[in-house]
Structures are given as structure tokens and as C-alpha cells.
Amino acid sequence: MTDASFLIGLADATVSASTVLILAGLGELISERAGILNLGVEGMILVGALSGVVATVMTGSYWIGFAVGSICGLLTATIHAFLCISLKADQAISGIMLTLLGTGVTTYFGQQWASAQFTGFPDRTLPVIGGLLVEIPLLGPTVFEGPATDFIALGLVVAVWWLLTRTNLGLEMISVGEDPETADTMGIDVFRMRYLAVLIGGLLAGAAGAHLSLAFNGIWTNNIAAGQGWIAVALVIFARWRPGRLLVGAYLFALFNSLRLRSQSLDLALGPESPLAGLLNPVIEFLLNPAIMSMYPYIVTLVVLVATIVLRRDDDSAQPAALVQAYSREAD
């Protein structure tokens, strides 16, 4: 395998692998912008992934599967919204509960669907201009050919940015995450706005899960999310709660995920004539061991998370000011 084709393959795999992080990350971003931290992303992804497969097998349509998966993600998020907004529960522990519940329920009911056969999203190009775009060297087949969910995710990055910066709804959502008391005084229904944000977050996490099982893997397996929900949570912090930076972050993390899957075909060992071969080859072999490589995305997440927070400017106020704070009318 030549280096060029390795790079193209890697870029292609990176773009594909980023979609689940983009979808789930955008959902978490919206929820947090409204002041509600949802650590149940992993659980909602799993619910979306399994319900998407079940609906696809039953109806034969992957579009219905995708819709059902997204809606089941939304329904899962409703639990979190009720607990945190209406009952003012601790957001961290409620989200962790959601992840445990999603993992438990999908493992419990998922066994019988593990070998289910279905037709998932095929690779395709965009209508009309797609044929031309694919002709672009390197970038073309990498970005402009893939399952429809890849394009939906990219479209949603723009849509969420537009929602949050250019629409009244988005600005009201942000205001309840920054200063709910003032927003309430201005006549914004804080509870309704927060519910909406959490439910959209669940919808997108469910979509991420349905994409994972219906388009990316093409099969349901237990614990299919494999920690990506948690990476999405970290990604939102890295992105400083901005959709554009989220996209960059998603590519970065997806790159390390793909590196592991792709590196088996890569021979990086030094030739025997190299004086350092004896010293470095065991190190290279260790670093390329699949078990070792599978921890890279987590290490990268950690390093990037720490760097983002440590290097922030003191006057920086990207984090929604009322994040994790329950709201009660007439403060008690």
C-alpha cells in the first residue's frame, strides 16, 4: 500500500467516523447552551442505535429507522429534562443514570438483534452537483461521497450555528443558559426553553446512534457507542460551545479513531540497516499494538480537554454562566 492511498483512506475514514461525534456533540452543545448539562449522551446514542436497527428490520426502510432512532433518543432525554428541569435534580448524577440506563436497556434487549441483517444507508453523492464534487482530487471522494447521514451532520453544523446566532429562538435559548432570572423577567419561558434544548439534544444523540448502527457499522453490537458519547461531552468543552470549533474537534478525534483501524496496513518499522532499528522497533511495535492504539482517542481527549481549560484566557466566558444550575421561579 502506498503512502498516498493510505492517507486518502485515512482521510475518508476520519470524515466517516466524525459524523457520530458531530451529531451527538451538536445536541450536547445546544443543551448546555440552555444551561443543562446532559452526561447521558452515551446512553442516548445506544438507545438511538438499537431502536434504529429494530425499526429498520421491521419496516425495511433505513430512513424510518433513522427517524425512530432519533425520536427514541429524544424520549430518553425527556427523563433527564423532567428530572433536572422540573424536579431540579443534580444534573451530573441524572445524566450518569441515563447512560447506565441506556447501556442496561440496550444490552438487555439488544442480544437478539446482534445478528440482525438489514440494508443500511448506502454511500451516495449529493444530488445535482455531487457528480462534479466527487471529481475533486482527494477532497472529493473523501467529503462528498458517503451515507446521507454524513451530509445531514454537516448541514446541521451550519443549521445549529444559524439557530444560535441568527434566530430569536436561539438567542432566547442562550439567554436561559446565561441568566435565567433576567430571561424570565423578559418574558421568556425558562422551563419550556430548557426542555426544548434538552429534547433537541436527545434527538441529535439518537440520530448519532442511528447513524452509528445504520450507516457507519451496518450492524448492532452491544455497547456500540464505545465511549464516543463521553468524547462528545468533552468535545463541547473543547469547542468552547461553538458549532464551528466542534466540527474541527470532531475531525481531530475521529482521526485518532481511524488511525487505529487503518494502521494495520501500515509498516512503520525501521529497516535492519538503520542503527536505531533495535532500539526503536519494539517501541513502534508497542505503539502500533491495536490494544494500545485503541486508547489514543481517550488520551487525545484528555490532553485536548486539559489544554483547552488550562490555556483559556482569564476573561474568557465561553461557558454558559448558568450551566448546571437548576432554575426556580422566585429563588428559594
Binding site: A89, L101, G104, V105, W230, A291, I299, L302, V306
Partner: protein, 369 residues
């Protein structure tokens, strides 16, 4: 017609609610889990009898519960202690794995006088677990980086290291399975005579008492409780949040590490790819159920030990997926935090108009008919 729901903040939680909450949470979780059992065609009554009554059948089955309880008590403490300081050690599973790996390595590779073997193994595991929690603890104390995310990422990393080791450098025994060789006899925790339970249980109970004393009778415990209930006020009173965060989370990691080795040296005799069925995550509902006192946490650990033993029984006897355990424990958390709302607020629903202006208006639902 007007349905008026009023929410009043309680000044004091009635004691029957405070004591009843954990029991309510468990009962409600089991009631909802009936849905999961019925959905796969299992008689829920028969399943619950198998899960919660049959394990009390003989001394041998009761001791199975105690064997399960040993790591759960230790790792439960590993979440409980940081929780008292206001931290969520969600990655106790990773610290448990670190303790298991290092303890197993010492047991297999280090030759020591007989009397020193088990103490050194315990010490090594505790240090390993503590070290595994140290970086998240420092990041939280110094930079305020969420310990939830960092301890979890460290758990994923520990799981990968464990898989790498049991397939590679530490792989042993016959057949090339992903496991280490058996621990030497000197490293095995001796059994408590007449049962399968082992000295790890005594160690765990001793530590429960130690934690009780240090939390309730020492200045350290006072500081932890103060920081946990109001970190800003504690800081103003001259207490170091930094030290409390660092100490409790690292100590929690050490306890989780002990849980790891006690499961290996006391029960399974070797480290293998899937030796820990998520004890570190079960520790979260255990610590929550017992958040009002370490002896209640002990009871919670015993309940979840029973759930694990019973869950295995219905998996074998009735082909109920073992994930039923995960569902129950998530639901326990769900109903606990639901019930906490009722500890803090009084809810009164009145039909018809009522407006005395005293209470906090929650929401008004108007229906047309």
C-alpha cells in the same frame, strides 16, 4: 377548571421520608424492572424469588453474597468518600482495574516472606488505584476540570491496558486465553472458615469503621463534610478545597484499587479479560443510597451483592440477560433523585382556585372542560 400544583420548599425533611427514601427507590426500581422481565416472557414473581430469596437458602449461597459484597463495599467507599467532598468518582472502575493489575503482577512476580505477601499486595494495589485517581484529582483541584469526564477517560484507558496485558506481557496459563496464570497459593486471601468469604471482607469492614471514625470524629472529616456541603463557605473559613479534593479522590482510588485485588486474590484467582462486571459503576448507586452514612452504604453494598448473585441465578435458570442488574441499578438512581425532590419540597395539588400568595407557584395547568 383550574388544577393548581404548589411546590413549597421544606424547612426540614421528615424523618420517615429520609429513612424511607432508599427503600422506596429500591422498591420502585424493582417494580419498573417487572416490565423488562415480562417483555421477555419471564414470570417476574418467580424471577424475584429466585433473585432475592433463594440466595438465602444455605450457608454456601449466603457466603456467595458476602464474596460479591467484598469488592462492592470497598469500591462503594471509593465513590462515597469523594462524594462527601462533592466529587463524583464515576471512574472507580478504572482505579479498580489498576489495583487488580498491579496486585496480580506483584503476586505473580515478586517473591516475599510468607507473612509479607498479602500486605505488600494490598499496599501495591492501593497505591496503584490511588495513582490512577491522582491525575483526575489534581486536574479537578487545580484547574476545576470535571472529574466525571477525566476519571471515565482514565477508566477506558485502564480497560485497554488490561486487555493489552492479559493478551500480551502478562498472558499465562494453558490454552492461550486472555488471562494471567493462577496466583500462587501464598497470595490467595485465606477463606473465613466454613464459608467461601475471605479475609478481604474483614479488611473491607475494618475500613468501613475507619472511614466512619475519620468522617465523624476527626478534623479531616469535618473539613470534607464542610467542603462537600458548601465549598465556597469552606474556602472562606480558611479550609483548603485543593487538599480535600486531592485527598478524598486519591483515597477513593486507593479503596477502589483494593476492591480490584480483593476480587482477584479472594475470589477469581487470576486476572482475566472480563473479571470485573462493572463493580465500579455499581459503586455509584451504592454510594448514593448510603449518602447519609457509611453504615447505610454498607447495607446498600450488601443489597447490590445480593442483586449480582440473584442476577446470575436468573441468568442461568431463566435465561434473563444479566443486564437486568444494570437496569435495576440505573432505576435505583432514577428513583433516588426523584425521591430527593420530595425530601426538599412539599407538593400540594388542589383542584379549584386557591390563592393564598404564600407559596412558590410551580405551574398551572388549565383544562378546558
Amino acid at each position: 377548571m383550574l388544577v393548581d400544583i404548589e411546590i413549597d420548599a421544606r424547612e426540614q425533611t421528615p424523618s420517615w421520608i429520609a429513612y424511607g427514601t432508599p427503600l422506596f427507590a429500591i422498591a420502585a426500581a424493582l417494580a419498573v424492572s417487572v416490565v423488562a422481565l415480562v417483555a421477555i416472557g419471564v414470570n417476574p414473581i418467580a424471577a424475584y424469588v429466585e433473585m432475592f430469596l433463594r440466595p438465602f437458602g444455605t450457608v454456601a449461597t449466603i457466603s456467595n453474597v458476602l464474596v460479591r459484597a467484598t469488592p462492592l463495599i470497598l469500591v462503594g467507599l471509593g465513590v462515597y468518600l469523594p462524594m462527601k467532598a462533592g466529587l463524583w468518582n464515576i471512574g472507580a472502575e478504572g482505579q479498580l482495574l489498576a489495583g487488580a493489575i498491579v496486585g496480580t503482577w506483584i503476586a505473580i512476580n515478586v517473591t516475599l516472606p510468607q507473612l509479607l505477601v498479602i500486605p505488600v499486595i494490598l499496599l501495591g494495589s492501593a497505591i496503584a488505584g490511588g495513582l490512577w485517581a491522582f491525575i483526575p484529582a489534581w486536574l479537578r483541584a487545580k484547574w476545576g476540570i470535571s472529574e466525571i469526564i477525566t476519571t471515565l477517560l482514565f477508566t477506558f484507558i485502564a480497560a485497554d491496558i488490561q486487555l493489552y496485558l492479559v493478551r500480551g506481557p502478562m498472558q499465562g496459563g494453558s490454552g492461550g486465553f486472555p488471562q494471567t496464570e493462577l496466583l500462587p497459593a501464598a497470595a490467595e486471601f485465606p477463606a473465613i472458615p466454613g464459608t467461601r468469604a475471605h479475609v478481604g471482607l474483614l479488611v473491607a469492614l475494618l475500613i468501613v469503621v475507619l472511614v466512619y471514625v475519620s468522617m465523624n470524629r476527626t478534623r479531616f472529616g469535618f473539613r470534607v463534610n464542610f467542603v462537600g456541603s458548601n465549598a465556597d463557605a469552606a474556602e472562606q473559613a480558611g479550609m483548603s478545597r485543593y487538599r480535600v479534593y486531592l485527598l478524598t479522590l486519591v483515597a477513593g482510588g486507593a479503596l477502589a484499587g483494593l476492591a480490584g485485588i480483593s476480587e482477584i486474590a479472594g475470589n477469581q484467582s487470576r486476572l482475566h479479560a472480563s473479571f470485573a462486571p462493572g463493580y465500579g459503576y455499581t459503586a455509584v448507586p451504592i454510594a448514593l443510597l448510603g449518602r447519609n452514612g457509611v453504615f447505610r452504604m454498607l447495607l446498600a453494598a450488601l443489597f447490590f451483592a445480593l442483586l449480582f448473585v440473584g442476577g446470575n441465578r436468573v441468568t442461568v435458570a431463566m435465561e434473563v440477560p444479566s443486564a437486568i442488574i444494570d437496569i435495576v441499578q440505573a432505576l435505583v438512581i432514577l428513583f433516588l433523585i426523584t425521591a430527593e425532590f420530595f425530601q426538599r419540597y412539599r407538593l400540594s395539588v388542589s383542584i379549584g382556585r386557591r390563592d393564598d400568595g404564600r407559596s412558590i407557584r410551580g405551574s398551572e395547568v388549565t383544562t378546558d372542560d
